[in-house]
């Protein structure tokens, strides 16, 4: 099995946004989706660009320029697609998060023995 790259939390958010947006995954929609997923924290467009560049450097996403679009002053859009390595990295991150949650769910707190994180469900 090929060794997969690890992803930070923000990288996971960006990868998730690209996957959920499908064919409409370019700068602005990716930024909006990441903002939605990271609420209440605010996210700048610049931070999204930096992360997209880093993911592309790691080989987790692939990008290409589209044809010019008249509504954007005749400028192209840069679309992104998650590569197989990116999907593997995201799957591993999700599996790790699930294992963490399962372990934390067994932790009880207080004298009533309430389960940790119960209020969040």
């Amino acid at each position: 099995m090929p060794k997969s790259e690890s992803c930070g939390q923000f990288e996971q958010l960006v990868l998730t946004s690209i996957l959920t947006l499908g064919e409409q995954a370019y700068g602005i929609p990716i930024h909006k989706k990441v903002q939605q997923l990271s609420k209440p924290k605010s996210v700048t467009l610049g931070a999204v660009y930096v992360t997209l560049d880093r993911l592309e450097n790691k080989g987790l996403v692939h990008s290409w320029l589209s044809d010019p679009t008249p509504e954007r002053g005749g400028r192209s859009k840069r679309y992104y697609r998650v590569e197989a390595a990116g999907e593997r990295a995201l799957r591993e991150s999700a599996a790790t998060a699930r294992r963490m949650w399962d372990a934390l769910s067994e932790v009880t707190i207080g004298r009533h023995g309430r389960k940790w994180g119960e209020a969040w469900k």
């Binding site: 700068g27 700048t44 467009l45 660009y49 930096v50 560049d53 859009k77």
Partner: protein
């Protein structure tokens, strides 16, 4: 202004995205929102391009090239022994060489440079300041600009040939 500042590889989609954001929301506040967006986004994009393109081995080659240029000029243009021994010359040469290399790495992020010779101006001002300030030797400053740039460009070409040559041998 934003187009002039952006590296050429990013101009198309970043300008388009900024324009698309400007058109969303209240048209009365669109110019202010565009300026705020650009102020936050452009430095991030430049930083990302610089980091993406930096190779420590190449930066080392640049430092060696620029250091050699400054040392040669020190011996040609002013009292080298006094400068190197009593005026902490070596440390100052190293600091100036590091700053020149940093500017060169930023300039590399703008490749291809057609229509965007932004940092050559900074390099020129920087070298003029150093040599004019230290030695009042204007020709020395011009020499530093021209030969510093030539030597670093040569270093880059040799590095790219060597690195791509090794990569080809590895994949064949």
């Amino acid at each position: 202004m934003v187009r002039w500042l952006l590296p050429s590889a990013c101009v198309e989609h970043v300008l388009g995205d900024l324009q698309e954001r400007m058109l969303e929301g209240d048209p009365r506040s669109a110019p202010r929102r565009y300026i705020l967006d650009a102020l936050v986004t452009v430095p991030s994009v430049i930083f990302s391009r610089v980091v993406r393109g930096v190779d420590l081995r190449l930066a080392g080659l640049y430092l060696a090239a620029q250091g050699v240029i400054f040392l040669v000029l020190t011996f040609l243009c002013f009292d080298a022994p006094r400068f190197l021994q009593t005026a902490r010359g070596l440390e100052r040469i190293l600091c100036f060489a590091i700053a020149a290399v940093a500017l060169r790495l930023i300039q590399d992020a703008y490749r291809p440079l057609a229509g965007a010779p932004k940092f050559i101006l900074f390099m020129a001002a920087f070298n003029v300041y150093f040599y004019f300030g230290e030695s009042h030797h204007f020709l020395g400053a011009i020499w530093a600009i021209v030969f510093g740039d030539v030597l670093m460009t040569k270093a880059r070409r040799i590095f790219e040939k060597h690195v791509s040559g090794r990569q080809d041998r590895r994949t064949s």
